[in-house]
């Protein structure tokens, strides 16, 4: 992805401790057009931008989101949990709700979402991995999207894990559909799903080393040869982000 040329005095690493309700910062970028080291007299080279993800939302969430959150909270009480114990924070953005759940309570949370009559999120649309290299301590995120056929709704459940301990509980016991999706997320990101019946590589050859969709894994292209010139592969070209 992008190179972040560090301007002097600006660190590109930001820490988001789990449990904090501060605005999750994705990245701090300096300069524009991805270039550095040139004689830039425009002043854009000294630009420093903080990329912030949408902030956690406080209650009321609006619409049917409150209904869902209340019902989950009530149901979790039967498991001896409160809503705030299970959920770190909730984000309501662009008409969608995301529950950031603690890994140890993930299975209980999902089981309630699946089984409670007012919730009934029957279809799990798979797990998607995301790698945020600048969120030190919570770099690898696993995102589940749950679809309710009965009530015609979609919610998102997100869990984070650090690169040093990339373990997340496997959801296959609750949603068997997640089997191959978890294998793919393991293959591509290295998130180990504890309790998965057979966590092996699924898309890459079995003896492949590395997890290709992480941000620190190169795109792996070769320079393109033209008559009289060579163009570098896409990840080594100028970036405009």
């Amino acid at each position: 992805m992008t190179e972040t040329p560090d301007a002097p005095g600006v660190s590109a690493e930001v820490v988001v401790p789990s449990g904090a309700t501060t605005i999750p910062v994705l990245d701090v970028r300096s300069g524009m057009f991805g270039g550095s080291g040139s004689g830039d007299t425009s002043g854009y080279g000294g630009l420093v931008r903080t990329i912030e993800l949408p902030p956690p939302t406080v209650r009321p969430f609006g619409g049917w989101f409150d209904e869902v959150a209340d019902e989950v909270g009530l149901a979790l009480a039967d498991d001896g949990l409160t809503f705030d114990e299970a959920v770190i924070h909730t984000v309501v953005d662009r008409g969608e709700i995301t529950f950031h759940v603690r890994p140890e309570h993930l299975l209980a949370f999902l089981r309630r979402l699946r089984d409670e009559p007012g919730l009934r999120f029957e279809i799990c649309a798979g797990v998607s991995g995301v790698h945020y290299p600048h969120m030190v301590g919570a770099e690898l995120h696993a995102v589940w999207h749950l679809v309710s056929v009965t009530h015609n709704r979609i919610v998102r459940v997100e869990v984070s894990a650090s690169e040093q301990h990339p373990h997340v509980p496997s959801v296959v016991s609750v949603y068997p559909a997640d089997d191959w999706h978890e294998r793919e997320t393991f293959d591509m990101f290295g998130i180990v799903f504890d309790g998965h019946p057979g966590l092996t590589r699924i898309l890459m050859p079995d003896d492949w080393v590395g997890h290709p969709q992480r941000k620190d894994y190169p795109l792996g292209g070769i320079p393109v040869e033209y008559k009289g010139a060579t163009i570098p592969p896409p990840d080594q070209r100028r970036s405009y982000t």
Binding site: I123, G126, Y175, A177, L203, P212, Q213, D235
Partner: protein, 462 residues
């Protein structure tokens, strides 16, 4: 000493005193346990007595229907454990077409991403684009700003794509089960649809037509008449495959009761699309969570209750008819207007047209940006090279591709490139049902079951 000895003289065997492990049958085979192993003495008609003490010895027969196979619907590897003709275990080996599209998307602008996403499920190219573009438009917040003409053209394109995709499903399904003329009929009919798609977008396949904000180009002159003409003659022409196979005794015998997956199985495995509708549940995202204006069209959700390959086959035929209905209604809804969103900072700047050397930017547009408007030139340059910026956040779009529910999870970091795009392809999910459908059945039924799931390996492996 380890060799098996064969007694050729009947008299010797009969007159020999019985050894251990032998019953009193005169024809029974005998064995002698020596330090080198068992030494068998056999004469014929005695296999059951010879082998009976060894009943625990069981060999697994594992057959690989390798990635290169005419009937496995693409580069799918089926690993089957067989007990005679019965499949006791079925596993899918996938990943033979893994292209790294999702990682590639992180190095291209949001609009260029359309060209990549279109190559995932390569039989329903614009369905992939629709899911991706819906996610990008949700991130941008312009879902309601897309002009109505663009929405109608999108619906026409998607339904044409659905007809062509179902025709390939019927054609290849028939071909893999041995009905070769189903393939020739299906592909002949598909050529008409491809001609329309080419008229609309310029390409038969992998057309990067649906773009964030609208569509790449407007319908050409005479386009509506051409579509109507084809729609008029299509029902009679499309009768080829149905006439061959519907209520055909041989076809029904091969496909009824095969690949059974009921509602509980579908829900457990997250299966959507024709496989789910074959169980009787009328779940169609175009009806339940409509997008692109689908709520304005009157169409039925085709369901069957047989949960088998034959039911899914009938559903696909029914969906072709429903798609034709939708296209007819959409053609009546077409009003003149723009086909790209009004916001010049997002809209793809150029309208394409056919020039002297093929398809490219229309000359009117070039005259405008070079001679008339500096802003237009700047917009064109910045949008094509850099792309538009998308505010940070994540979004999930849920659309109905011909094979099932297509989910796109898009994460933006505020830049011109996607931070992460994950496409939940319906075939990837549905293919997990192979084991449930095939185990306990026969080898030939595995082909039928996989053909009825209709996986497209480009979508499965991405």
């Amino acid at each position: 000493m380890d060799d098996v000895t064969y007694e050729t003289s009947f008299d010797d065997v009969v007159n020999e005193p019985p050894l251990s492990g032998v019953d009193s049958d005169a024809f029974a085979g005998t064995y002698d346990t020596t330090e080198g192993g068992r030494v068998y003495t056999v004469t014929g008609q005695d296999w059951d007595t010879v082998l009976a003490p060894d009943a625990g010895h069981h060999e697994r027969v594992v057959v690989n229907m390798g990635p290169q196979h005419p009937s496995t619907h693409g580069v799918l590897r089926l690993i089957l454990e067989l007990e005679g003709e019965v499949v006791t275990e079925a596993r899918c080996g996938i990943g033979y077409l893994h292209t790294g599209i999702e990682k590639n998307l992180e190095y291209r602008s949001w609009t260029q991403g359309v060209s990549f996403v279109t190559r995932m499920d390569y039989l329903a190219c614009m369905a992939n684009e629709a899911g991706y573009v819906l996610a990008v438009e949700k991130l941008l917040g312009i879902v309601d700003d897309v002009p109505p003409r663009a929405q109608v053209i999108r619906v026409i394109a998607l339904e044409l794509q659905r007809i062509s995709s179902h025709l390939v499903a019927l054609a290849t399904g028939g071909f893999e089960m041995g009905a070769l003329t189903a393939m020739t009929n299906g592909f002949r009919d598909r050529e008409e649809i491809l001609r329309l798609i080419e008229m609309m977008s310029g390409l038969r396949m992998n057309n990067a037509f649906i773009r964030p904000g609208g569509v790449a180009q407007d319908l050409p002159e005479g386009g509506v008449e051409q579509i109507r003409e084809v729609l008029d003659k299509l029902p009679r022409q499309l009768d080829g495959v149905p006439q061959l196979l519907v209520d055909n005794g041989v076809w029904k015998d091969r496909t009824s009761g095969i690949g059974y997956l009921d509602l509980a199985g579908c829900m457990a495995l997250g299966v959507t699309g024709p496989v789910l509708r074959a169980t009787g549940l009328p779940y169609d995202i175009r009806k339940s969570m409509p997008y692109f204006g689908y709520e304005q069209y009157d169409f039925d959700v085709v369901t069957e209750t047989s949960c088998d390959v034959y039911g899914r086959f009938l559903i696909r035929i029914g969906e072709i008819n429903e798609s034709m209905r939708i296209i007819a209604q959409a053609l009546d809804k077409l009003e003149p207007g723009p086909v790209m969103v009004a916001d010049k900072k997002i809209a793809w700047p150029a309208q394409l047209s056919i020039g002297g050397d093929g398809q490219g930017n229309s000359l009117d547009h070039i005259r405008h940006i070079m001679g008339e408007s500096m802003e237009a030139l700047i917009h064109h340059f910045k949008l094509v090279t850099e792309g538009f910026h998308v505010p940070p956040g994540q979004v999930f779009s849920w659309t109905e591709a011909p094979r099932g529910a297509l989910g796109v999870h898009a994460v933006s970091d505020g830049g011109t490139r996607p931070f992460r795009v994950h496409v939940r392809d319906p075939s990837f999910n549905n293919l997990q049902a192979t084991a449930a459908m095939c185990e306990g059945g026969q080898v030939a039924d595995v082909i039928g079951a996989v053909a009825s799931i209709d996986p497209v390996m480009g979508g499965v492996d991405r």
